[in-house]
Assembly symmetry: C2
Homo-oligomer: 186 residues x 2
């Protein structure tokens, strides 16, 4: 008891179990409705004992938050072309492609249904990416845009269609959205 420093073990078996569990959860969500996603079910698919899940995550909601966080972090490379308009168009295209995957949507829906902050974990990294691009534009002396406002104009329609409608995104939609935001100039 030299101090209260508890040493964590992020590597080796723990990491392997974590990866297996994450993969198993996403596989199950892709196959069946989120209703049947229980900790024993995920454990069985992952080849891990259910006790491990109860001890590490505690509940389906926390597990889903963890899965969503790692799934939606670092999955998209932030473009840096030197032009905000170009950056945004490429980025919106990438996000649109990401949202076109049914399995991704299933995970997102489950995370939203799991709790009030489930949706936030899905877009936290998106907002960070947006802030990076807008910050660079501001640094190079361009227009100063608010992250919230740009998120409203770009992510709003994208995620709204993905979750609330069955309307597929049309080609050229990214260009159209960015155009509506930045206008003809810029």
């Amino acid at each position: 008891m030299s101090s209260t420093t508890t040493t964590f073990r992020p590597g080796g078996r723990s990491a392997r179990v974590r990866a297996d569990v994450h993969r198993a959860a996403q596989e199950l969500l892709a196959e069946q409705p989120a209703e049947g996603l229980t900790l024993p079910a995920v454990a069985g698919r992952a080849g891990v004992h259910p006790t491990t899940l109860y001890r590490r995550w505690g509940s389906v909601a926390e597990l889903l938050n963890d899965v969503a966080t790692s799934r939606f972090s670092g999955d998209i490379v932030v473009p840096d072309t030197g032009s905000l308009r170009e950056d945004l168009e490429r980025w919106v295209t990438d996000v649109t492609t990401d949202l076109a995957d049914p399995d991704t949507l299933a995970l997102m829906r489950a995370a939203i249904g799991a709790g009030p902050d489930g949706g936030c974990t899905c877009v936290t990294d998106r907002h960070a990416q947006l802030a990076a691009m807008l910050g660079r534009e501001r640094a190079r002396g361009g227009v100063a845009l608010d992250v919230e406002r740009v998120a409203d104009a770009l992510l709003g329609p994208l995620y709204y269609r993905a979750i609330f409608t069955t309307t597929p995104p049309e080609p050229g939609w990214a260009h159209e959205l960015v155009h509506a935001l930045l206008g003809r100039t810029a």
Copy 2:
């Protein structure tokens, strides 16, 4: 067996049970995470036998779809001021108010998590209302706007903020969104 016409009984006890179950489901969603929403739990709160729920709805997902459909239908009066801009601004304000209720959000999240078409049932009536307003504008010789496009610009930001962020809507946001859509002219 004169014919295969099965007579339904929408009134009396059935309707009472249905209303009680709907109310119970929304109450439970307002109190606890959707994870704990089971058919026996709803039945207990509603003062109804669980068997009834298993027979009439079959699963939590179907029950949630039913609840969401009736909850988000006919709850907002479509304005008819003679001006599209005025109609849209009032309507967006009403929708924003509706989305500010935590209990409403809890139901919406649960419906989304229940299945792929859970989100659609929450906004089907909204699109119908939008179509009505745009149809009137077109009939009186005004601008002809596409429902999908207007939904992108108005409902997109609204529902995105409600589900994916914790950013509260600012005052005057309705005016701002409609302005961004219709421009300075009208």
